[in-house]
């Protein structure tokens, strides 16, 4: 049985905005990535799962309980990190954590303390005075401190510096190992690719496709940019990879290839004199175009 279930979930805000006919089933212990550009409907879906929105049609369920109406039971097992974190302005982080813990009926604060140390944050200052990243850390502590069985994370690493992003991924790994079911939304391909088992791609409120992360990891084209010293090198590369885009004046090459051909590239480059070589990061949009062609803009 799936832990998180969406059945034809629809919420129309008018003007083509909202979510339409979204169906997902996340199994126990699975980490599901919800990937989509800004305004795609990721947060709207999360809000249905939190019981903030009533579905227009369709259903959102967690462990078989209806998310609209059975909140009290569902929230006992869920940790939620909102996409747009907001805290009461007139409290310190510490007193807010205490208050939420009390509302959860939590008695043992040892794990909460551990998380504070792990993220190197001292919550004993006013929430109003905290930086974006500090607020995000408090949000993470609030959603993880009761060791929930289910995590709903809406763009969890926004505002964290790269070091903390890595720490956060470590933390998610720990929870995954403990069998936690995770639904994670993001517009960053790398983040989802690194942590999730399955990825659902949503755009303009519609699910475009669901893919296995492993499959994606290997099938995906990577794009490299390089610059050579000599023109002969350019020709050598073109000989092996006719699809490469070369610029004869700057001697630069842009080349996209699947992982399966990476060794061919290295073999060719071994004989070349390069000025530099780097992998180009793609925007989500470009990834969509790569995989699904015009599909992504439907």
């Amino acid at each position: 049985m799936s832990v998180i279930t969406l059945e034809n979930l629809t919420k129309d805000f008018g003007n083509g905005r909202g979510i339409f006919d979204v169906s997902i089933a996340v199994r126990k212990g699975e980490c599901y990535g919800f990937l989509g550009p800004n305004g795609a409907g990721k947060s709207t879906t999360m809000r249905h799962l939190m019981g903030f929105y009533q579905p227009q049609s369709g259903k959102a369920m967690i462990e078989g309980l209806d998310c609209w109406g059975d909140q009290k039971h569902i929230q006992q097992k869920v940790g939620y990190l909102p996409g747009e974190i907001a805290f009461p302005e007139d409290m310190t982080g510490k007193s807010y954590i205490r208050m939420i813990a009390k509302m959860r009926g939590m008695k043992d604060f040892s794990y909460e303390k551990e998380l504070e140390d792990f993220f190197e944050i001292n919550p004993a200052i006013e929430l109003k005075r905290m930086s974006k990243g500090m607020k995000q850390k408090i949000g993470i502590i609030l959603s993880f401190m009761h060791k929930p069985e289910i995590l709903l994370l809406d763009e969890p690493s926004s505002g964290l510096d790269p070091l903390m992003q890595n720490k956060f991924i470590d933390l998610m790994d720990q929870f995954k190992k403990a069998g936690t079911t995770i639904l994670l939304s993001s517009h960053m391909f790398e983040e989802v690719e690194r942590t999730c088992d399955r990825i659902g791609i949503i755009k303009n409120g519609k699910m475009i496709r669901e893919v296995d992360a492993k499959e994606l990891r290997h099938s995906r084209l990577k794009t490299f940019r390089m610059e050579c010293e000599d023109e002969t090198d350019l020709e050598r590369i073109l000989g092996k990879f006719p699809e490469a885009e070369c610029n004869m004046t700057t001697h630069s090459v842009i080349l996209s290839l699947p992982d399966s051909r990476i060794n061919d590239l290295i073999a060719v480059l071994a004989g070349c004199k390069l000025r530099f070589l780097k992998e180009e990061k793609h925007t989500l949009e470009e990834y969509f175009m790569q995989f699904y062609g015009g599909d992504a803009n439907d």
């Binding site: 939190m50 009290k72 929230q75 006992q76 939620y80 909102p82 907001a86 805290f87 208050m99 509302m103």
Partner: protein, 261 residues
């Protein structure tokens, strides 16, 4: 049905408003009781007879009459009203608008528990405010106006004022529960209650404008009837019913609506 942590947070976060408005009321109560002297009011009454000021002041030869026409038509109406407008909005709408309501709803607490707790805070804070003001009034008149105060009428006057403000607070609370935007909740809650106040002032200016009294809730807090000692019962009951009704409406709407958190 109530959540202690939420109640405590509401008390803490609204304490400065409660304190400020209670102190202002206490201050005016003390000053007005002190100002009263049967003789000066008598001559003032004669001088202003038939004028607009006379209409506004009318029947001020006793302490309670004087208070009814000064403190209980002006300060006792406007200050708690402002408290209700500000705090009513802060309790719910501002938390939805700002987004920190999502933190409360992420815990295993039902929506109804959250809004019930906040309603209870709101009601109790007003009851406490009037208890303090009323006790102070009794104390101060005992010191400065010995034997001038008709205690029964004074208690009724305050009870009526409290019921009136509970009805006002119910308007602000319902607005706060209905709207997701702080400014809309303020506009409706504040707009309606201040409109009532302004109309009630206009009604006092001339008998020709008497029909307007049906447009304002303030009519139901009729100090003259309380002093007469009869005919106020129905008003008290209507005020209570309005309060119960609007609190219920607010709570029900909040439990059923979409929250853009």
């Amino acid at each position: 049905m109530i959540s202690l942590p939420i109640l405590i947070q509401d008390i803490k976060s609204n304490f400065k408003f409660w304190m400020a408005f209670t102190m202002v009321l206490c201050l005016f109560m003390t000053v007005m009781i002190n100002v009263f002297t049967p003789a000066t009011i008598g001559s003032l009454g004669a001088a202003t007879n038939g004028t607009i000021v006379g209409n506004l002041l009318g029947g001020t030869s006793t302490l309670i009459g004087f208070m009814a026409n000064s403190f209980y038509t002006l300060m006792a109406i406007i200050f708690p009203m402002l408290y209700s407008i500000i705090v009513g909005n802060r309790l719910v709408a501002e938390k939805v608008d700002h987004g920190d309501m999502s933190g409360l709803l992420s815990t295993p607490t039902k929506r109804i528990t959250i809004v019930m707790t906040k309603a209870i805070y709101f009601i109790c804070s007003l009851v406490l405010m009037w208890t303090v003001v009323c006790l102070l009034g009794i104390g101060v008149s005992h010191i400065f106006q010995q034997d001038e105060l008709d205690l029964n009428t004074f208690l009724l006057m305050n009870a009526g004022c409290l019921l009136f403000h509970l009805a006002i607070s119910s308007i602000c609370y319902a607005a706060s529960c209905i709207f997701n935007y702080s400014k809309l909740s303020m506009a409706l809650g504040g707009g309606i209650t201040l409109f009532f106040y302004v109309v009630s002032m206009i009604v006092k200016l001339s008998d020709d404008l008497d029909v307007l009294k049906y447009l304002t809730l303030n009519t139901l807090y009729d100090t003259a009837k309380i002093i007469e000692g009869e005919g106020y019962g129905a008003n008290f009951i209507i005020l209570t019913c309005i309060g119960i009704l609007l609190y219920t409406v607010g709570i029900t709407v909040f439990c059923k609506k979409d929250l853009p958190l």
